[in-house]
């Protein structure tokens, strides 16, 4: 088990998750300047909606080495272990955000918890598509695309991370993305078949 923890770098990942979650809570309402290129103005997207992408990067990066050929002969059920660890990390980080949202009446943080699950799902789905080493970039790219193209008083369904806290579709999209990522993206055989990346 110690080798597993070392291979997944869970100490460093946990540290990064804690730091970014604390920053998300502290800067929840601060508008991140997102440029509006043509208008010469900069529109603010609340940090609570986009910073969880950083947490997602840390969580997805933990599994960058998963599925290497050497793990194909492991006695332990590593894929199941990966799924369990991933779920625990997402639940802990989202739970912390939700807890603060409820206690301090900050609904933005509840949307942040939703987006965290969704961004992790995007990163995990990217694993078999882009390779485990490139996958951690996917949540960042998704957050940037959403920030640049999704600015609107009523963001379209494609830009669900920017929709209101109570938006049912956004919640469903984030949940479905997270489930698909955990089920497919962390599938052990899929990564073994593709090797350890390009």
């Amino acid at each position: 088990m110690r080798w597993y923890l070392a291979a997944r770098r869970l100490g460093a990942v946990l540290g990064a998750v804690v730091v970014i979650t604390v920053l998300t809570v502290a800067w929840a309402g601060i508008p991140l300047p997102v440029p509006h290129l043509g208008g010469g103005v900069t529109l603010g997207v609340p940090a609570a909606l986009l910073l969880p992408a950083g947490t997602a990067v840390a969580i997805v990066a933990a599994f960058a080495g998963a599925g290497a050929h050497v793990e194909g002969v492991a006695a332990r059920p590593l894929a199941a272990l990966d799924r369990a660890v991933c779920c625990v990390l997402v639940a802990a980080a989202s739970g912390a955000l939700l807890g603060v949202a409820v206690v301090w009446h900050q609904p933005l943080l509840a949307a942040g918890a939703r987006n965290l699950a969704g961004f992790v799902g995007i990163g995990l789905i990217a694993r078999p598509l882009l390779g485990p080493r490139a996958a951690p970039a996917a949540p960042v790219v998704a957050a940037l695309l959403v920030g640049v193209f999704g600015q609107s008083t009523d963001p379209s369904a494609w830009f669900w991370p920017l929709r209101a806290t109570g938006d049912v579709f956004a919640g469903a999209a984030a949940g479905a993305t997270a489930l698909l990522g955990a089920a497919w993206g962390l599938g052990h055989l899929a990564t073994v078949r593709r090797g350890a990346g390009w």
Binding site: P33, V34, L37, G38, A134, L144
Partner: protein, 442 residues
């Protein structure tokens, strides 16, 4: 390595559609220019570097990361590192350039500007693409991809996107060329040089990290030195600027009208509209002169440096303006504005640094706009068949804030009173003398 093999091995084959797609998409979502021209469409097209450079940096991380995983950097090699790095990076730079080209073509097609774009914003954007590629390569060599990729992509995006939101406002001139240009303004080359210098600084610092000291000791030392010098030069070039990267345009204007009549002078891009301008604007100027006694200008020009004392007045108009808009703009241009020297003196007076009392300076500063607001409000009310009693409310809507207190005073006066006040203020503005403003001597 052959062109095709390098192209495929670098991953550029999938980066190319991403760069080109982003370059087009960002303009379709965000792109707009006020005055379509070779300079403004080139600036708009080049602004897509904000989303293209992160992709290039990510690709470069991946390419050098492959060598890092293979342990190439630690092995003895017959090839020089710089040669290998150049061989690795050119496909990524090419992808970035193709993305910028797609973006430029989109900007030109959107505004129908089919002439060679101003090369300066394009050169600045290309320099940033090269800097993104080299810095991404350095990051990919030093750090694992799982960290380097998100940092390179997110970092480059925010390096290029954040400065326009930061104070001091000149910081934006270090990374991108933007907000260029109205037809009467021209892009300052110093801003372009500053962006290129910043790109050189990033490239130099990255090369210092990228090459092994055993192979290129001079480059390893020269890189940071070049970075510091280039960054200092960039800051030196733009630190005194405000947010505007432009200066008044110089050059020949196209004029109409005979001696003795009001001449209209426009920049060549607007020459086709000269007849319409003359048909709409000249009667408006004569109407202002007839109602207020403020003399009609001898020349109405798009040159910002109009000689007001010689009877020239500046006006801003675009071919897309309607006849109603042109009537408003043209008539308002009959009233002179304070010269830059005068504004400087009034600002000093406002700080208590001159012989003029701050209140008087403020009164003259505000009064320069009252004539324009008076004419604009009148034409808007007349076009909408609204009563004159709606004047102050309409003026507030037009100005976007409460009009100067003297506006209501002028609006409520009879025709003679209005003419006297506006004529007196015109003289005060031209002479930069607050004492000539009715009530300004207090």
């Amino acid at each position: 390595m052959r062109f095709g093999a390098r192209w495929v091995a670098s991953g550029a084959w999938w980066m190319l559609p991403v760069c080109m797609g982003l370059g087009v998409a960002i303009l379709l979502v965000d792109g707009s220019v006020f005055d379509p021209s070779a300079a403004s469409t080139a600036t708009l097209g080049s602004s897509s570097v904000v989303v293209i450079a992160p992709v290039v940096a990510g690709g470069a991380v991946w390419s050098t990361g492959q060598l890092r995983r293979a342990g190439w950097w630690r092995r003895a090699s017959a090839r020089r590192s710089l040669g290998v790095v150049a061989d690795l990076l050119w496909p990524h730079v090419l992808c970035g350039a193709a993305g910028l080209a797609a973006s430029l073509a989109t900007a030109m097609a959107t505004y129908g500007v089919w002439r060679l774009p101003d090369p300066r914003p394009v050169v600045a954007a290309l320099a940033m693409v090269v800097a993104a590629a080299v810095s991404g390569a350095a990051l990919g060599r030093l750090v694992r991809e799982v960290v380097a990729l998100p940092v390179a992509i997110g970092g480059w995006y925010y390096v290029l996107a954040f400065p326009p939101a930061l104070e001091p406002t000149w910081l934006r001139h270090l990374v991108v060329v933007r907000d260029c240009c109205l037809v009467g303004r021209s892009l300052d080359t110093s801003v372009v040089v500053a962006v290129v210098a910043t790109a050189v600084a990033v490239t130099g610092a990255s090369l210092g990290l990228l090459v092994p000291v055993t192979q290129h000791p001079a480059a390893r030392l020269a890189g940071p030195l070049v970075a510091v010098l280039a960054l200092a030069a960039a800051v030196g070039l733009v630190h005194a600027r405000d947010a505007d990267p432009t200066s008044p345009r110089r050059g020949e204007l196209t004029c109409s009208g005979d001696e003795g009549r009001i001449r209209l002078c426009v920049w060549p891009e607007h020459a086709a509209e000269l007849a319409r301008l003359e048909r709409v604007v000249t009667p408006a100027l004569r109407a202002v002169a007839a109602e207020t006694g403020v003399p009609a200008p001898t020349v109405l020009t798009q040159d910002e440096q109009a000689d007001q004392d010689a009877g020239e007045r500046f006006f801003a108009a675009r071919p897309t303006d309607s006849d109603d808009d042109l009537e408003r703009l043209g008539g308002a241009a009959a009233f002179p504005t304070l010269s830059a020297t005068c504004v400087h003196e009034l600002e000093a007076a406002g700080r208590g640094d001159g012989p003029v009392p701050p209140e008087a300076a403020s009164a003259l500063y505000e009064a320069q706009y009252v004539g324009m607001l008076w004419w604009t409000t009148r034409t808007v009310l007349a076009a909408s068949d609204l009563p004159l009693s709606r004047g102050p409310g309409e003026a507030r809507a037009l100005a976007g804030s409460d009009p100067p207190p003297s506006f209501s005073h002028v609006w409520d006066a009879d025709a003679d009173g209005q003419a006297r006040w506006l004529s007196a203020v015109t003289d005060a503005v031209l002479a930069c003398d607050p004492n000539l403003v009715p009530g300004g001597e207090r």
